[in-house]
C-alpha cells in the first residue's frame, strides 16, 4: 500500500526541480529540458489522481500531454537551431535582441 500523497510529493519535487532549472540554467537546450521535467512531474500527478478517482481519462490525458510535448520538442528544437544559426550562441543572456 502506497499513500497517494507520496506520489503527489514526488510530483511536486520534480516540478520544483524543473522550475529551478528553468530559472538557473543559461543554456537554452537545458532550459527546454527543464520544461520537459515539469511536464513529467505534472503527468505523474495526473496518473496518481486517475488511480485515486478510478478515472482512466487521467491516463488518456497523459497520453495527450506526451503528444503535445513531442510536437513542442520538435518545434522548439527547430527554433533553437535557427537561433543558433543567426546568433551562434546558446546562452539565453546573449540572445536579448528581437532584431539582429
Amino acid at each position: 500500500m502506497i499513500p497517494l500523497s507520496y506520489y503527489l510529493v514526488l510530483s511536486a519535487i520534480l516540478f520544483a526541480c524543473g522550475v529551478t532549472g528553468f530559472l538557473i540554467k543559461r543554456n537554452i537546450i537545458t532550459i527546454f529540458m527543464s520544461i520537459e521535467l515539469m511536464l513529467n512531474g505534472v503527468n505523474l500527478s495526473f496518473v496518481a489522481f486517475a488511480a485515486q478517482w478510478h478515472a482512466l481519462s487521467g491516463q488518456v490525458f497523459v497520453f495527450f500531454v506526451m503528444v503535445v510535448a513531442a510536437a513542442e520538442a520538435a518545434v522548439g528544437l527547430a527554433i533553437i537551431i535557427s537561433v543558433y544559426r543567426t546568433r551562434e550562441t546558446l546562452n539565453v543572456d546573449r540572445v536579448n535582441l528581437l532584431k539582429l
Binding site: 519535487i13 520537459e36 496518473v47 486517475a50 488518456v60 503535445v68 527547430a78 527554433i79 535557427s82 546558446l90
Partner: protein, 176 residues
C-alpha cells in the same frame, strides 16, 4: 511493503536524476540524467497500474524526444554553459524560493489530505484503474475521438513547422 520499497527506489532515482540535471554544467550530461528520470517515472507509472502510459513514457519520452534533444546538442556542439550576472541572481533568489515553495506544497499535500493508499495489486485487478492498452485504446477511439483527431493535425503542423524553421534561409530567392 515491497511496493513501497519499489516506490521509494524509483522515487530516489527520479529525484537524484532531477537534481543531477540541475547540477551538471554540460547539456549532454543533463540530457542523460533526464533520461534516467523518465525511465524511473515509467516504473512509478507501472506501480500506479498505468501499463500503457509506462510503455509510451519509455518509447516516446525516453526514446524519441530525448534522442531529438541529444541529436540537437551534438549537432550544435553545445559546450559547457557560462555563468553570467543574471544567472547568479537567479541562483541566489531562485533556488531558496523554489525550495521553500516545493516544501510548502509537499507539506500541504501531506497535512491536508486524508491520504488514501493505493495498492498496485488492487489497481491491476480493477478494470477502472488498470490502464491496459486495450482499455486506453477503446477510450481513445470512443470518448476522446475528437481530441485524438485534432492531435494528429497538431502533429502534422508541428512537422511542417519544424521543417520550415530548421531549413537554411534561402537568401537567393528573397533577393529576386
Amino acid at each position: 511493503m515491497l511496493h513501497l520499497l519499489l516506490f521509494l527506489i524509483f522515487g530516489a532515482i527520479c529525484v537524484a536524476g532531477a537534481v543531477n540535471l540541475l547540477v551538471q554544467r554540460h547539456p549532454i550530461q543533463s540530457a542523460l540524467s533526464l533520461i534516467v528520470v523518465m525511465a524511473a517515472l515509467a516504473g512509478e507509472y507501472l506501480l500506479l497500474g498505468a501499463e500503457f502510459v509506462a510503455a509510451v513514457q519509455v518509447i516516446v519520452y525516453a526514446g524519441a524526444i530525448m534522442v531529438l534533444f541529444v541529436f540537437v546538442i551534438m549537432l550544435l556542439n553545445a559546450a559547457e554553459e557560462e555563468h553570467t550576472a543574471g544567472s547568479r541572481v537567479a541562483m541566489i533568489l531562485g533556488v531558496p524560493g523554489v525550495t521553500v515553495l516545493g516544501l510548502l506544497v509537499a507539506w500541504m499535500v501531506v497535512q491536508h489530505s486524508n491520504s488514501p493508499s493505493v495498492s498496485p495489486a488492487a489497481l491491476y485487478a480493477d478494470p477502472t484503474t488498470h490502464g491496459a492498452p486495450a482499455t486506453i485504446g477503446t477510450l481513445l477511439f470512443s470518448e476522446f475521438l475528437l481530441p485524438f483527431e485534432i492531435t494528429s493535425v497538431l502533429i502534422l503542423i508541428a512537422i511542417m513547422g519544424a521543417v520550415v524553421l530548421a531549413q537554411k534561409p534561402q537568401h537567393g530567392k528573397e533577393e529576386k
